[in-house]
């Protein structure tokens, strides 16, 4: 495993600079370019044709098949640094992005050529151009309701994420880009459910994204946000910690009074 990763990394380092220099390419050559990158960086876990690889005991997927995951999944997983993964595990956290956007596009084009799947959303899918302020307000309100119904169970009501069973977690959406949120809904990364365009229409997805952007601007009064639950937790810590300090302080006061060795002389 380790040797394989080192080998993959080493090969990648050797080949990557050469492949990053691509300019305007037509689709076929982009797919070919993507396949080259795929063979170097992804094939170890996902198979040489993206068919997926089982672990040695044949019981677990080392990497799932990528047929049908679509360009959106690739752009999300690679574009947020979740892939390539450092090691197998319950959760692949977002980290520094390893590929340039051109390389990601090539990888996405290759994976999309395996089987039909959701495409990378265009900026027009989630932009608010041409919406009046009132339409935006309405969209944010509707998006909020949709978010609270469909997403808040895992991602918390202000999108700050949360814990999931078996070492997994729902990622924070506070700093996620609009495109990546859209792609996550389309592709259902990891344990997340899919919210396809038949499930939530593109307009409803845009509304959810608008809502998430809008709550970033919400003012926070005092203290740490702690997932938006307000000053409750801080109050608890203040009570538990503060009480101890107060008791200690009371003991200290009672134990100390300045005394003198001089005798009192009655006038």
């Amino acid at each position: 495993m380790l040797i394989g990763l080192l080998l993959t990394g080493g090969l990648y380092a050797a080949f990557a600079p050469a492949s990053g220099a691509g300019e305007q390419q037509d689709d076929a050559s982009q797919v070919a370019e993507g396949r080259k990158l795929f063979l170097v960086g992804c094939a170890f876990c996902h198979g040489q044709n993206g068919e997926g690889v089982l672990t040695a005991d044949g019981k677990q997927q080392l990497g799932p098949t990528l047929a049908g995951v679509g360009a959106a999944a690739v752009d999300f997983q690679v574009g947020t640094g979740r892939m390539p993964a450092v090691q197998p595990g319950a959760q692949f956290p977002a980290k520094r992005v390893q590929y340039t956007q051109e390389e990601i596009d090539a990888l996405a084009a290759y994976v999309a050529s395996l089987a039909p799947g959701p495409a990378i959303p265009a900026e027009s899918d989630y932009s608010t151009d041409g919406m009046t302020d009132q339409e935006k307000e309405e969209a944010i309100v509707r998006g909020g309701q949709i978010f609270l119904t469909n997403c808040s169970a895992c991602h918390n009501f202000e999108g700050s994420g949360g814990a999931m069973p078996n070492g997994k977690m729902a990622a924070s959406l506070r700093n996620a880009s609009e495109r990546h949120i859209y792609e996550a809904m389309l592709s259902g990364p990891g344990e997340m459910d899919v919210f396809s365009n038949g499930n939530l229409t593109p307009d409803e997805k845009r509304d959810v994204i608008l809502y998430l952007q809008s709550i970033k601007e919400a003012p926070k009064y005092g203290g740490f946000s702690m997932g938006g639950i307000g000053p409750v937790s801080e109050g608890m810590f203040a009570w538990l910690g503060g009480m101890g300090v107060l008791v200690g302080f009371a003991v200290w006061i009672a134990a100390h009074t300045t005394r003198t060795s001089k005798e009192k002389v009655d006038a």
């Binding site: 949709i146 069973p165 009074t257 001089k262």
Partner: protein, 351 residues
């Protein structure tokens, strides 16, 4: 034995040694505080205490000033992100209270009387005379009231006081009529469409992909002229919504293991389950797409959507109720019937 007796100290009549084996050293000589012997120090302490009370007054005035000077929400990002108003009000009021507290302690420790007092323990019971008097008075009272001689009065009094409990029990009636069989039914009926929560649009069977999770509601909650359902409002609407909420999840049809009689309850891998946890009724929609495990955020009850909503983990005792669904003429998902069992938490009368 007798030798030992001789060496023991003499026991006096009250049970204490007549002469203590180790002489009572008494209290150590009192040491005075500087303020007790030095008038200048005393004066200084007095001024200190007064100054602390003065600081408190100034802080209180500043609190009032800050209250009017800073509006809540003005510049919420200054002073470490806490906001000018929050910090100013908190600091001034805190200092005002703290200065009074410190002042009082300084006063007590430096200026108030500094006597050392020994208070000997006294017996916890009252003196025999007091007890005698109390018992006599009690007996006298009982005798004078004649409670032993007049059973009619005594019994009617007991009856009157006892009957006072009845209004309390009767008032429980105000908690509402018994639910009857309402807990056994929801608003779902045969042929009612499943619609998306919030927006109320019907769901075509081709809308959902494998892995999709959809939060649904019965169409009757979104009445329109077209579907002809009656308007619901207020409590009725809330109750219908909370009991009717469902989640739809589409998976590979081969993954579903229906129990006997549920073979046709799903449509092409789409299953519908109540969204209300069978433990204490939290709405649940934390679904893990790959294992189809649905988790309740309140107490971590976990249900297997591929296996008839079976409980895998947690405090829930019953499987999640499944809503049998089918496809109508236009290809939209509809209910085959109401839930076949009560949704939500268990209750007293339920088998």
């Amino acid at each position: 034995m007798s030798d030992n007796q001789d060496t023991l100290p003499e026991i006096s009549t009250n049970g204490l040694p007549a002469e203590e084996p180790i002489a009572n050293p008494g209290l150590p000589a009192h040491t005075w505080r500087p303020t007790d012997i030095d008038p200048a120090a005393e004066k200084r302490a007095e001024r200190q205490v007064a100054a602390l009370f003065g600081i408190s007054m100034i802080s209180t005035v500043l609190f009032v000033v800050a209250f009017f000077a800073f509006k809540v929400g003005d510049e919420p990002t200054v002073v470490g992100g806490f906001g000018a108003s929050t910090v100013a009000l908190g600091l001034t009021f805190g200092i005002a209270l703290l200065a009074i507290g410190v002042g009082v302690i300084q006063w007590a420790r430096k200026l108030m009387g500094d006597h050392e007092i020994v208070e000997m323990r006294h017996p916890a019971s009252s003196s025999p005379e007091d007890r005698e008097v109390t018992l006599t008075q009690l007996a006298q009272g009982l005798d004078e009231s004649g409670i032993g001689r007049r059973p009619l009065v005594r019994n009617t009094l007991l009856g009157a006081v006892g009957l006072l409990g009845v209004p309390m029990i009767v008032a429980l009636r105000d908690l509402g009529p018994l639910p009857g069989d309402k807990l056994y039914h929801t608003i779902w009926t045969k042929g009612m469409r499943v619609v998306r929560d919030v927006v109320g649009t019907p769901i075509h069977v081709s809308d959902l992909q494998i892995g999709d999770l959809l939060n649904g509601e019965p169409e009757a909650l979104f009445p329109s002229e077209e579907n002809g359902y009656p308007e619901l409002s207020g409590v009725d609407s809330q109750i219908a919504k909370s009991k009717g909420a469902v989640i739809l999840h589409r998976m590979e049809p081969s993954e579903i293991t229906p129990s006997k009689g549920r073979e046709n309850w799903s449509v092409q891998g789409i299953v519908a389950f109540s969204k209300i946890c069978t433990h204490v009724g939290c709405p649940i929609s934390l679904n893990e797409q790959q294992s189809h495990h649905l988790l309740c955020p309140c107490h971590q009850s976990t249900f297997d959507l591929a296996d008839n909503g079976r409980v895998l983990f947690g405090p829930a005792a019953r499987s999640l109720p499944q809503l049998p669904i089918e496809v109508d003429d236009e290809g939209y998902l509809v209910a085959q019937s109401d839930f076949t069992e009560p949704v939500g938490p268990s209750f007293w009368e339920r088998d």
